[in-house]
C-alpha cells in the first residue's frame, strides 16, 4: 500500500521546519516522501542499489536546500521529485543506458510504460495515484508514450522523435496535449484536498 497522500500544507510545514534544522520534521518528511520517490527512481534506473544511492543523495540535497524552498516553486512533493528525478536521469545518462532505452523504445507498446516491472507490488488505491491514473486514462496512447519516455526514461524530445520515428514537432505537441489533459484531474484533487 502506498502511504497516505501527502497534504501540501503539511509537507510545506515539514519542509520549512527542516529548513530550520529540525531533524524530526525532516524524518517525518522522509517518511511521507521516500516511498513514491524511491519507486520513481527505481523505475528510472531499474536498479534498487543505484536507487538507494540516488535517494540518499536526493534527501541530503533536500536537507541542504530546504532553506531555499518557497511555495512558489511548487509543492514539496513536486520539488523533491524533481530533485530526485534529475539525479536519477543524470546517472542514467552517465552510464549511457538511456541509449538502450531509446533502442528499447522502438517497437515497444505504449501500454508497457505504466505497467509495473521488477515484480513490484501493485499500486495502492490512494486518492492521489487514482487521480493520476484517471488522468492518464484520458490520454491517447501516443501522448502517454511520449510523456513516459521523457519522464521515466529521460529521453529528450529529439530522442523520443527518433525512437518513435515521429517528427520532433509532433512529439512536442503530444507532450503538450498530454500534460494539459493530465492537469485538470490533479487540479480537482488539490481543490478537494484544500477543502
Amino acid at each position: 500500500m502506498n502511504p497516505a497522500p501527502p497534504a501540501v500544507s503539511d509537507d510545506a510545514a515539514l519542509l520549512h521546519a527542516a529548513a530550520r534544522r529540525d531533524e524530526a520534521a525532516f524524518a517525518a518528511l522522509y517518511d511521507r516522501m521516500a516511498r513514491p520517490v524511491f519507486s520513481l527512481v527505481v523505475r528510472i534506473l531499474r536498479s534498487r542499489a543505484e536507487a538507494e544511492e540516488i535517494l540518499q543523495e536526493a534527501f541530503w540535497q533536500v536537507w541542504e536546500r530546504a532553506p531555499d524552498y518557497r511555495v512558489e516553486l511548487g509543492s514539496p512533493f513536486c520539488w523533491i521529485v524533481t530533485i530526485a528525478r534529475r539525479k536519477a536521469i543524470d546517472r542514467l545518462r552517465a552510464n549511457a543506458r538511456h541509449l538502450q532505452r531509446i533502442a528499447a523504445a522502438q517497437g515497444a507498446r505504449a501500454e508497457d510504460d505504466f505497467v509495473a516491472p521488477l515484480g513490484a507490488e501493485s499500486l495502492g488505491a490512494d486518492e492521489r495515484s487514482a487521480a493520476v491514473r484517471a488522468g492518464l486514462a484520458r490520454l491517447g496512447n501516443e501522448e502517454r508514450r511520449a510523456i513516459a519516455l521523457a519522464f521515466f526514461d529521460g529521453l529528450t524530445h529529439v530522442e523520443i522523435a527518433a525512437a518513435l520515428g515521429t517528427p520532433v514537432g509532433t512529439v512536442k505537441a503530444r507532450i503538450r496535449r498530454g500534460l494539459l489533459k493530465l492537469k485538470p484531474a490533479l487540479a480537482r484533487l488539490e481543490t478537494t484536498a484544500n477543502h
Binding site: M1, N2, E23, F26, A27, Y30, D31, R35, P36, F38, S39, V42, R43, R48, A51, E52, L55, Q56, W60, W63, E64, E72, G74, S75, F77, C78, V81, T82, I89, F114, A116, L118, A120, E121, S122, L123, R128, S129, A131, V132, R133, G135, L136, A148, A150, F151, F152, T156, H157, K172, A173, I175, R176, G178, L179, L180, L182, K183, L186, A187
Partner: protein
C-alpha cells in the same frame, strides 16, 4: 491568455526537455509573466504526479538511518557521521592525515616505479628496434657490397674486352698501315732463298724474315737496305747472319734515317759489320 507556443514550452519545461538558450529565454519569460509562471507550475506538478503511478517499491529501512545520519550535522553530510565532537576527532584526524600522507607517498612510489618499468620496457623496445634496423642495414650493406663487387667484375671484364677490342682494332689498323714486301732471290746458286719484310711506318721499325739463304763466309754479313725515293741512296737497315743449317733468320730492324715511303727492300752481302753504302752483290730484292 497563453498561446500554444508558450503552452508547449511550459510542457517541455515541466519535463526538463528545454535546453540551453531556449530554456534560459523561457525562464526569463516566466520571471515576468505571472500567468505563464502559474501555468508552468501546474504542468510541473502534473508531470511530478506521474511518480505516483510508478510501481511501488519501499526503500530499505536502513536507508533512512543513513540519510538521517548524514544530516545530523550541518556540514555536508556525505562523510560526516555527526556522532563525534571536534576534540575527539583530533586523533582520528591525525591518523587519517598520516594515512593519506602515506597513501600519497605510496602512490608516488608506485607511480614512479610504474614509470620506471614503463621506461625500461620502452628502452628495451627501442634497443630491439635499433638492433633490427642495424641488422637490416648490415644485410643491405652486404648485398650492396656484393652488387658492387659484381658490377666491378663486370666493369673489369668490359674494360678488358674494350682493351682487347682496342688492341685488336689497333692491330688491324697497324696491319692496314704495314708495308709488307716479299723478297725474291737474286742468287744463281740459291734460287729458292726468300724473304719477307714487314715495315711499320708509325714505329719506324720492321721485321725481316729470311729462309734458305746460304750462310755467309767468314768476315761477311748480310745487310738490309730500305729504298726511299727521298734519298739518293738506300737507307741502312742493319746487318744479320742466318742459321747455317736452314739459312733462316728473323730480324727486327730500324732504319738509320727516317723513312716516309718505301719503294723496295734489298739484301746485299757485305763485309763483316756492314757498310754505309751498298757495295756487295744483291742477294734478295722485293718491291
Amino acid at each position: 491568455m497563453i498561446d500554444e507556443r508558450h503552452e508547449e514550452l511550459a510542457a517541455l519545461h515541466a519535463l526538463d526537455l528545454l535546453e540551453g538558450a531556449e530554456r534560459d529565454a523561457f525562464v526569463r519569460t516566466l520571471a515576468v509573466n505571472d500567468e505563464l509562471r502559474d501555468f508552468a507550475g501546474r504542468l510541473r506538478e502534473a508531470s511530478a504526479s506521474l511518480a505516483q503511478v510508478a510501481p511501488v517499491i519501499a526503500p530499505p529501512p536502513a536507508l533512512k538511518s543513513r540519510v538521517l545520519a548524514g544530516i545530523a550535522t550541518s556540514a555536508p553530510p556525505r562523510t560526516a557521521s555527526g556522532l563525534f565532537t571536534f576534540p575527539s576527532l583530533l586523533p582520528w584526524a591525525a591518523a587519517a592525515g598520516f594515512a593519506l600522507l602515506a597513501g600519497w607517498f605510496a602512490r608516488l612510489y608506485i607511480g614512479a616505479r610504474a614509470e620506471t618499468q614503463l621506461g625500461s620496457a620502452q628502452h628495451a623496445l627501442a634497443d630491439l628496434a635499433l638492433q633490427q634496423v642495424q641488422q637490416q642495414l648490415e644485410a643491405e650493406r652486404i648485398l650492396t657490397r656484393r652488387e658492387i663487387a659484381g658490377l666491378t667484375g663486370q666493369l673489369t671484364d668490359a674494360r678488358t674486352q674494350v682493351a682487347a677490342l682496342d688492341e685488336r682494332r689497333q692491330h688491324e689498323a697497324d696491319l692496314a698501315r704495314l708495308k709488307i714486301t716479299a723478297l725474291t732471290s737474286l742468287l744463281k746458286n740459291s734460287p729458292g732463298a726468300i724473304g719477307v719484310a714487314v715495315w711499320n711506318p708509325e714505329k719506324q721499325e720492321g721485321v725481316l724474315h729470311v729462309d734458305k739463304l746460304p750462310a755467309p763466309a767468314a768476315g761477311q754479313d748480310y745487310q738490309l737496305w730500305v729504298v726511299d725515293p727521298q734519298y739518293p741512296n738506300p737507307v741502312d737497315g742493319g746487318v744479320f747472319t742466318v742459321d747455317p743449317q736452314t739459312g733462316a733468320q728473323r730480324v727486327v730492324f730500324k732504319a738509320r734515317q727516317p723513312v716516309r715511303a718505301i719503294d723496295a727492300f734489298a739484301v746485299t752481302l757485305e763485309r763483316k759489320g756492314g757498310v754505309p753504302k751498298a757495295e756487295g752483290p744483291f742477294v734478295l730484292l722485293g718491291k
